[in-house]
Symmetry: C2
């Protein structure tokens, strides 16, 4: 079954909104074995929308549109679908009542244009919107079916999950695609791809590598008969080959993996940041309930605060500056002790775009101080893009990933020897 | 001049990558008065790419493609353009030498497929890529011109800025569109739109409102003769009507506005966060050189740390819990004094999804302690979406924006009386 996406709205063409809806829909559909074959964006113009719907149904069996179902006069998807189907729009009394009730409950005056959201092309079925005003629509056209969903991401996602995806799966019947994503951090894509050569060679198994900011996701896809069983076998083999580099699967994230490991052991972590300015703390508090395992943190951006708030020795800072393996180690131990956590995690480094104290951009030292051991220090040797205004953001995001991965490995007691040795060399080299 | 975008890659259809390239291109082109009329995404399939190029040139005078210029065998844009033009691919000796030199400089073996990046459709011109391996291509087809750019965002942006946009502006000749964006934070879209009714009524002036997480950008577009002068007049009027709600224009961001104001006054800020977990610090360190005005911060996620690290009185925390106006004020004064900054900015609140200490989700107190005054406390009264897993992220992002806006207003000595009064009511209501 071929499906095309049609996202509607001037703001998408003008780039004021990034097309996250199309990405989300593509991802969810792929997970269910339904492949999007084309994705088109058009502006708020009636004729263009009608034309794009017809074109899409000339190639695919179904089209999912988002956008253009709101109250204002540039919301034209209802009108376009009625015209494409050659039917009039009718005002649905139940929808109208619901809209009037909502406005009344909010004690606000009714804008007449709001009632446009109760207009439905004759013969269309409604896709219940349990979280917003405008319902989704399902319209049968000669070439296939159109699902029209609101552009508000939260509403679109709800209707996709509750109505559209179940219906598509039922209609398509083809279920023999199975997918699974394994997640790694801190390992190069080429290293992973080399390790997985024998999995890649398996029949009707495809691997895709999705790198971003120090993480690499590996998507394994099995097609054909017994896809689920063969996927499971391929996953087992991949896990065996990758060993402890795999921190999770599916929607699992590195911060969740870390919280889980800490919770299982009744441990907590505190974080001392400099170049990341709070990003590690933000990541560790993204998940509800993180207060059980994350105590708090300190952002010692000014060098002098590394001494005042964390007890990093003054002479160390004077002699080596803020970017040094021993400073990272002292920050990690300091934040652990002063915040009373089991683990201290610390980063210090140069985010750029200018070098600092003679250290090149991308020089980063990460340290974990555990409940028992001496602090370990790690230099992730970040690859640095040659130039450009985005370098600072890239270095900061990669630092967050490497820091959480180092913490994960430290909690599990996994090897960080190699990394520690590199930091030792840095100490000697850079004095 | 009509332009269409064609972004190429399975990863876009599968939603593994969000189409930030299309958004960026749409935005830059619109800024230069060139409008994108359609944006299409296709996968890595030769025939589909050729078909999509022909379709686009049937509607528009120029097509810009991104993606499919890399070394691997699913990079098919070069081949597609050669086929579409009916010409062979030729290996360019200068490009080949450059690729061999790069590989040698990195002391890595040459993968034979890498040389594919030196293949060029006969008759195409090269668009120099000063920052990566694959050049962009300019191919003339009967229906119009195709600019093919790499999918790596940084490389695409460089070639767009250095080559494609200047060429398009020269070709199109039409310059009579002028645009400007004003930026506000902490004011509702409907309030802004109501204030600007008279600007909206001006001839050949269009306003667009772009809300996100507590900020609203207002894009003013002037078309027709003397667009620049009329835009300037409309902007002046809008600024007069909006008053101190406008914090900046164009690419300016709230964190930059705050840094600028602090720098002008020789002041610094320190931040105490709880529900935002470090996001405010991360925002305030996003910009290079922020260490001149941002000292550092403390993330007191565990309630007990608010006392230990910031000196918030124990009995206050015992009596009212962590989410209270007086706690916010004590945190702000504490972080200012302990980190030795001119201003202390503090937030405490409930990010959800569960309520806390009897406070509903979205209850947030923001406080600024200035160099002279008593701390001001502000309750932004965040609107809370009814349900859903994204609520936590939404509340956290809105808190960051409101906190920076409160700091901006405090530095400027602008009215926060109303806000302070609301916090006072909260004190009385919630005890």
């Amino acid at each position: 079954m071929r499906i095309e996406l049609l996202t509607i709205g001037d703001e998408l063409l003008l780039g004021d909104t990034i097309n996250g809806n199309a990405a989300w829909m593509g991802q969810r559909l792929a997970e269910h074995g339904v492949e999007v074959t084309r994705s088109v964006v058009v502006g708020d113009e009636l004729d263009v929308i009608i034309e794009a719907v017809h074109e899409a149904l000339g190639r695919a069996e179904a089209v999912i549109t988002t956008g253009g179902l709101g109250p204002t006069y540039d919301d034209l998807t209802r009108d376009a679908l009625a015209k494409a189907a050659g039917v009039p729009l009718r005002r649905d009394p139940t929808l109208e009542k619901r809209l009037r009730d909502r406005v009344e409950a909010a004690r606000r005056p009714l804008a007449p244009m709001a009632l446009r959201m109760a207009d439905v092309p004759e013969g269309a079925s409604l896709l219940g919107n349990t979280v917003g005003s405008a319902p989704g629509l399902r319209v049968e056209l000669p070439g296939g079916v159109v699902y029209a969903l609101p552009g508000v991401p939260f509403e679109m996602r709800t209707i996709m999950t509750e109505v559209v995806i179940p219906e598509l799966i039922e209609d398509s019947g083809l279920h023999e695609v199975a997918r699974r994503t394994l997640r790694t951090a801190g390992v190069w894509e080429s290293v992973i791809a080399t390790s997985l050569a024998e999995v890649e060679a398996l029949d009707q198994i495809k691997l895709a590598y999705l790198p971003s900011s120090g993480e690499v996701k590996i998507r394994i896809t099995a097609t054909g008969p017994d896809a689920e069983q063969r996927l499971a076998a391929a996953e087992d083999r991949a896990r065996a080959l990758l060993g402890d580099a795999v921190y999770g699967a599916g929607d699992d994230t590195l911060d969740r993996a870390v919280h889980r490991l800490l919770a299982e052991r009744g441990r907590t972590v505190a974080v001392a940041e400099s170049l990341t300015g709070g990003l590690i703390g933000a990541e560790l508090t993204a998940m509800p309930g993180s207060s059980a395992t994350y105590a708090g943190g300190v952002v010692t951006y000014a060098t002098e605060l590394k001494h005042r708030l964390l007890g990093v020795p003054d002479d160390l800072l004077r002699e080596h500056g803020a970017v040094h393996p021993d400073v990272a180690a002292a920050m990690a131990a300091g934040v652990r002790d002063r915040l009373g956590a089991s683990y201290g995690l610390a980063v210090t480094g140069v985010a750029g775009p200018e070098s600092q104290d003679g250290r090149r951009v991308g020089t980063v030292y990460i340290s974990v101080a555990g409940p028992e051991d001496e602090p370990k220090v790690f230099n992730p040797r970040l690859p640095v893009p040659g130039v450009g205004g985005e370098i600072r953001g890239v270095i900061r995001r990669m630092t967050v990933v490497h820091a959480l991965e180092l913490l994960r490995r430290a909690i599990l007691g996994l090897d960080v020897e190699h990394a520690a040795r590199e930091a030792e060399e840095d100490r000697e080299e850079k004095g």
